[in-house]
Amino acid sequence: MRDLVEEALAGVGARVNRTVLTALGVVVGIAALVATLGLAATASARIVSHFDELAATSVTVLPSPDAGPQRAENLIPWDAAERASRLTGVVAAGTMSTLDLPETPVRATTVVDPLASDVVRPPLVAASPGLFDAVQARVAVGRAYDRGHEARRDRVVVLGGRLAERLHLADVGQSPAVFVGDVPFSVIGVLVSVERSPALLDAVIMPDGVAHARFRLAAPLSVVLRTRVGAAAVVASQAPLALAPQQPDALIAQRPAEPNATRAKVAADTQALFLALALVTLVIGAVGIANTMLVSVLQRTGEIGLRRSLGGTRASVAALFMVESALVGLLGGVLGSSGGVLTVVGVSYVREWTPVMQPWLAPGSALLGAVVGLLAGIYPAWRASRVEPIAALRTDG
């Protein structure tokens, strides 16, 4: 066996350039395979890690559904955000209350097109200034309101980006007004992205004080906390007591639920396409190896005849060509696998992802290259074993 591999290595090594060229198809096929599977693993790990990060740093405190409607009314104090901020591990905190005024129309005054429906009924949300940081909202134009607005009970709102689009309020430079019901507000900012509470992109967000004065919000309905990584569990256990010392059991602290799998499914579809391409390339690579090995058999009939005259059996000649073919495939597998890994690492570097790969992927695909080579070698090896030594030895060389 060792003899066989050594002989095959010598045979392959004697024709390095040809070997590398022959392996090219397998190199590309294996590289595509590894890159596809590796990037898929990296992407799904990213989805998971993104989710893990949220889970590890998000806590929402709500009145417990078990508490009666009366008690739920005034459970969370107005200064809940400040109180929660004092807990160790809390990075940002804000109250968030969706006002129970579903039929309240919101109109923009700067509508140009008279035919466009300028009345929408978006969710109305009251929030303390700290909420923007707590949900990692990004304000694209204008600014978020602050404690000053809150204290003065200024009639200001921040609009979610999607809502602003529907109201044609892209430019808030001139502080356009919107009417919430009959009450005019000036729009001071528009959110472009909200990491943790995407629903806010469709909402009108106003300070707690105004909501209390104008829309009879009795008390905040929830507190959103962003914590340091890993602190969520501890914060969740302490928050109810900190916010409602008299009746901590009436509050519950929630952690986010599993994200849905649509994104992963989309990825799986494109992945299947790339895998199919990788397999087609591998088949082409196999045909390439088979072809070169066949040429090699014809060129080396003299050597085959010699080996037979020295006492090599038909089987040993066949095995030699099989192993040579497998070695070419293995070389292609190793090169392709390295290329695939580099691709995954490179793409991850550019996208600032953490490259993730199943541990068996690189060695497994290198071996797959060897298997492809072995299969490609079957027919040439059979031809080699059929060479008649007498005829072969008549040739020169």
């Binding site: 010699l306 020295l310 038909r314």
Partner: protein, 227 residues
């Protein structure tokens, strides 16, 4: 003393639309230590005879006794094993593997001979030494002269210590001076007791051998030295 090799009525007919009788029924005995030259015109059947003796080819009919045992009817596998253990070939075209060193070209024979790995390099070097190439073990074939290449081929055949050394036109690709190198080597091997069978169409070269047979149209005839 029984013969090392004995052909009894061996005939070889190549099947074709008009079958070619390359060898007519032949009797030939070779004793251990003989140096035999086989001469004859081109196409007379010399190579056919040598291939049968070397177990590369099978007689159409007749018996081939190797050490008294009939090997004519053996299977392909059994004849292959006998070639590996008892027969050394030298060819007109050398048949060295171009990308392997002189030593590697010899060890390949020992590999098929099932010589243990650890002994191979030493025995190959010893064989190269016997043919006067002890200093060129690492040389690649394309750096060797024709005579040196053929001596590597002889070393390869000798390395397995064959009972029978068979050479088909070993000097056919060499000029007369280099041919003389190889013949001197054969003479020495003969003196050391090696059985050598050599095909040649050159009467002068044949004259160097201890014993001569001539093949004429597939018929093998002994040539008396005084004839």
């Amino acid at each position: 003393m029984t013969a090392l090799v004995e052909l009894r009525g061996v005939e070889r007919v190549y099947p074709a639309v008009r079958p070619v009788t390359a060898l007519r029924p032949t009797n030939l005995a070779v004793r251990s230590g003989d140096w035999l030259a086989i001469t004859g015109r081109s196409g007379s059947g010399k190579s056919t005879l040598l291939q049968i003796l070397g177990l590369l080819d099978r007689p159409t009919s007749g018996a081939y006794l190797l050490d008294g045992a009939d090997v004519a009817g053996l299977s392909d596998r059994e004849r292959t094993r006998l070639r590996a253990s008892r027969i050394g070939f030298v060819f007109q075209a050398f048949h060295l593997m171009p990308h392997r060193s002189a030593l590697d070209n010899v060890t390949v024979a020992l590999m098929y001979n099932r010589c243990p790995r650890r002994l191979r390099a030493a025995r190959a070097a010893e064989a190269l030494d016997r043919v006067g190439l002890g200093g060129r073990v690492g040389a690649m074939p394309n750096t060797l002269s024709g005579g040196e290449r053929q001596r590597v081929a002889v070393a390869r055949a000798l390395s397995i210590r064959p009972d029978l050394l068979l050479a088909d036109e070993p000097t056919g690709n060499l000029d007369s001076a280099t041919a003389e190198e190889v013949l001197t080597l054969f003479a020495r091997l003969h003196a050391e007791g090696q059985t050598v069978l050599m095909v040649t169409h050159d009467p002068q070269i044949a004259a160097r051998a201890a014993r001569r047979v001539q093949v004429v149209d597939g018929t093998v005839r002994e040539v008396r030295p005084d004839a």
